[in-house]
């Protein structure tokens, strides 16, 4: 593996290798000494063009627990105000000797451009690009699902499981990553969203689409229910809003105690965070024993350790 840019690039065996490696990494995190010498001497750059403290911290913890040197690089700029160019930034990182670049960017495709622009030698790990992909998020989701719902997880796929993803699919890199990854791992994916938040051109996606959460709960045996974060501005954009009001969204798509009780007993509730309590998820659902939201965060570190290990170990042999 040279880069991790999109879950669409992953074969089933790639995905299982990452999850199995993450399981071994997670096991090391229960020890007294959690730091491993594995990536000693390697430099990992966290290149963040978009603020995301949680994702950055997760990658930073992952790299540090593998003894890599970590450089945090926050670049200014947005789609409105152009800042330092991607190319110039990449050349700077190359000069610093980055072995891996973890990139978060507001623009879809930025990670791909960084990996294929010919500016950098190191591996590129996509930590979320625009509304395109966020592969480590979906890997940690798959890891969490496997751990809870598969009897002997190591080496296993997600065959036979049904995962419903609820919310703003149109603007969600989490949804895009998960649809491909969960399908590759053999799970059935159901997207639940108003048609305004489903992309035109979704037909080839390997998933079903329904338009209310109640319909999803009635029609499918849901094993894992993933609530996406809703951007309030998508509903209050006046003439450009995708939905009439937050209250209507909550009524049709929100996970409350009542809907939670109608899920199968073993079903787990997930959220990539940060949550809008009272909007897409009620406090009762978020804090219920079936919620694995806090555990997702811990699994995120293990999955990112696995990704960094698999990208960086063996890199000289591969060249």
């Amino acid at each position: 593996m040279r880069h991790l840019l999109s879950t669409k690039d992953l074969t089933k065996s790639d995905a299982i290798l990452i999850l199995d490696t993450a399981a071994q990494m997670a096991a090391t995190q229960e020890r007294e000494v959690r730091k491993l010498p594995t990536l000693r001497g390697k430099t990992v750059v966290n290149l963040f063009f978009e603020d995301s403290t949680r994702t950055r911290i997760s990658f930073e913890a992952a790299a540090k627990r593998l003894s890599a040197d970590v450089i945090n690089f926050s670049a200014k700029g947005s789609s409105v105000s152009k800042g330092e160019s991607l190319k110039d930034t990449a050349l700077t990182l190359q000069a610093m000797g980055a072995d891996a670049v973890v990139v978060r960017h507001w623009a879809s495709g930025a990670a791909y451009q960084l990996a294929h622009g010919g500016w950098l030698h190191g591996s590129v790990l996509n930590a979320g690009d625009g509304t395109h992909q966020h592969p480590t998020q979906s890997l940690l989701d798959a890891f969490t699902i496997r751990k809870h719902l598969v009897t002997s997880p190591l080496g296993a796929d997600l065959n036979g499981l049904t995962v419903a993803i609820v919310g703003d699919v149109l603007h969600s890199r989490v949804a895009r990553s998960n649809v491909h990854l969960l399908h590759t791992l053999g799970a059935k994916v159901v997207l639940v969203a108003p048609a305004t938040l489903v992309p035109v051109g979704i037909d080839p996606w390997p998933c079903d689409v329904v338009h209310t959460l109640d319909e999803a709960i009635e029609s499918y045996d849901i094993d894992a229910l993933m609530m996406l974060r809703v951007q309030r501005e998508r509903m209050t954009g006046g003439g450009s809003a995708f939905f009439p009001s937050p209250a209507e969204y909550t009524r049709i798509y929100g996970l409350d105690g009542d809907r939670l009780r109608r899920l199968p007993d073993h079903a787990i509730v997930m959220h990539p965070g940060p949550m809008n309590r009272g909007l897409e998820i009620s406090a009762e659902a978020a804090d219920s024993p079936r919620s694995v939201i806090v555990e997702q965060v811990a699994n995120g570190v293990a999955v990112r350790m696995a990704a960094l290990y698999l990208l960086l170990a063996g890199e000289e042999a591969a060249q």
């Binding site: 096991a27 007294e32 000494v33 000289e316």
Partner: protein, 180 residues
Amino acid sequence: MTGTIMGAADVSRALTRIAHEIVERNDGAADVVLMGIPSRGLPLAHRLAQRIAEIEPGFDAEAATGALDITMYRDDLFKNPTRTIGTTTVPAVGIDDAVVVLVDDVFHTGRTIRAALDAIRDLGRPRAVQLATLVDRGHRELPIRADFVGKNIPTARSERVDVRVEEIDGEDAVVLRKGE
């Protein structure tokens, strides 16, 4: 000299002898735990534990055996194709204040054992660490020695020593091959 150096009977005899030596050296097996280095060190560790239990009836072979994957401690990670990380299992009785006997199939440069010592240090604080190996082929690159050796086999650097074990390969044997 190439070809089969040890047959199944030789391997069995060597393991029995090592088991006796471990008990003898440690005045019994009360504090002994075995940690096999995957992949072939692990079944060897289990077999040694069985034999020790036969000598010392109070020894719980199951609880005193673990696996020590050293992939994440290797110093040659970047020069070789990516290795899959194996499972590390701490023996149920724990390793703090225990005598940890590392078990590997072939003892060569010493780098694997160096990595294993680092890995052990992150798992706990044993009273002592000892090394048992089925084959010692020489060519040490570090000041490390084995405590228990099944057979010393002088080799050329270019030669390969393949240890085959029943649990993985379907037979017990040690084969010396010419290097490519």
